[in-house]
């Protein structure tokens, strides 16, 4: 860092991926293709230490995520530790399996907020996308208990070609369930979503229509339902400020304790990730080679380096740059100034125009040994 470089900001959010185990097998899962096994997961004491260190470092929000975080037998204790250290706890859950049974204890432990995923509103479609039978009834019961306990509820809907016609129904469902907030989050194409991109990519016309529906509903429901919209990258003009800028706001701890600047960072070859098993979170945030690699603006090539947007979008997404150009330090090709921009638009349009029924590769622990068909969901948890 030179003298003119800004002081290193404190991280504001911690994404705690407590486990990669999950009942659902969504084909756009943001977990890596190679999932951490249960035997490699951090223990309760280590998570307590990590959370205490995060609070001291300046983290305000903790996102208890996965996989399905309620699969952890110590989820209540972990939540209680967030409350003890002043951290705002956000449970990111599918609401199935044992989630409902643990919900009252989580509320008693001081849980601040629940974010519940829905794969679709149509039951059959939801269960086809999530690859898990009878999910919808469990989610409805879970949502009802969240609001009965007085906890704020957010509904999360990841949008893709298989459910983009249900955006208006997601909005109605959020209102009916008493949610305060709805995330209409168009799929971001990393990991499993990248593998399934041709089965997930919607058309530009459908994307535009979905955005119009959200904007109309925002006005009509102002003060009742807050709708956050994540627009799909490939059709954008400028890239998103991915994770608020690399190493600026977010810390991601994986189930086995590796610390990442974003959940997809391990797709970038050559980065050295440190583990909470060996070092403190403060040490990792400040000095880890992975966090240093793309922090700030010094690493940027042209056209980013001389761009007046460079401290707004921080060069966009490194993982996407790698996935689409083969070079993690290239300008995010979503950006109109990238030499690859036109090719990305063409690619998205070509994949969106595939007329065949979507066939997914479902998320699993052993990639490749399942039939890649959407017809036979079987939700086992290993």
């Amino acid at each position: 860092m030179n003298a003119s470089a800004p002081e290193l900001p404190a991280p504001i959010g911690l994404l705690a991926e407590l486990t990669h185990r999950c009942q659902l097998r969504c084909p756009y899962c943001s977990n890596p293709l190679e999932l951490d096994k249960r035997s490699g997961e951090l223990d309760t004491a280590t998570w307590r230490r990590v959370l205490s260190e995060a609070a001291a470092l300046g983290v305000l929000h903790v996102h208890l995520s996965g996989g399905e975080p309620t699969i952890r037998t110590d989820i209540v204790e972990i939540t209680a530790h967030c409350a003890r250290t002043g951290l705002y706890s956000n449970l990111i859950t599918s609401g199935v399996g044992g989630a409902l049974e643990k919900l009252d204890a989580l509320a008693d432990a001081g849980l601040d907020h629940v974010q519940l995923s829905f794969q679709a509103v149509d039951k059959a479609n939801a269960e086809r996308i999530g690859g898990f039978v009878n999910a919808q009834a469990q989610k409805m019961a879970f949502a009802g208990r969240v609001t009965a306990l007085g906890l704020p509820l957010t509904l999360n809907a990841v949008i893709h070609r298989g459910n983009i016609d249900e955006v208006d129904r997601f909005i109605d469902l959020a209102v009916a369930l008493g949610a305060r907030r709805l995330e209409i989050a168009h799929t971001q194409y990393y990991g499993w979503a990248s593998m399934n991109r041709a089965a997930l990519m919607p058309t530009k016309a459908d994307v535009d229509r979905s955005i119009q529906i959200v904007e109309t509903a925002r006005k009509a429901l102002e003060g009742r339902l807050l709708i956050d919209l994540v627009v799909p990258d490939y059709y954008a003009t400028y890239p998103k400020a991915c994770v608020g800028g690399w190493g600026r706001r977010l810390i991601n701890v994986t189930p086995s304790g590796r610390v990442l600047p974003c959940h997809a960072a391990e797709t970038i070859p050559g980065l050295e990730f440190w583990s909470v098993r060996d070092r403190t979170l403060a040490d990792i945030w400040t000095s880890s080679p992975a966090f240093m690699a793309y922090r700030g603006t010094d690493w940027m090539p042209e056209p980013c380096r001389s761009c007046d947007r460079k401290e707004r979008d921080w060069g966009g997404c490194r993982c996407q740059a790698l996935a689409l150009t083969g070079d993690a330090s290239a300008t995010d090709p979503v950006c109109v100034y990238s030499p690859h921009h036109a090719r990305i638009k063409t690619l998205a349009a070509a994949e969106a125009s595939v007329n065949a029924e979507s066939t997914y590769v479902y998320r699993s622990f052993s990639l490749g040994d399942r039939p890649a068909s959407a017809g036979s969901p079987a939700g086992d948890v290993s």
């Binding site: 956000n90 601040d112 907020h113 704020p152 957010t154 305060r180």
Partner: protein, 93 residues
Amino acid sequence: MREFLRLDDVLRLPRGSRLRFDEVRGTHVLLAPERTFDLDAVAADVLGFVDGIRSVDDIVTALAEKYVEDRGVIERDVIDLLDELLRKRVLDR
């Protein structure tokens, strides 16, 4: 459409909207689902008075006693702040 905030409205912080002092950054914050609102000293005072008992008018009166400022100016600032937070669903009335 939504009704604009009125002086006789009584507001409260629902569960999931939490005031705290951020010692690392030296500032008051309102923590809410997926959001952090940085609060200056006056905004922290305003929200400190949001208790499910005081009306908006009571809050304006309390602030007018504390700050040497025209009551009309205070009233406008208080309503702007609280209405914005209502719109974002982090306050209840």
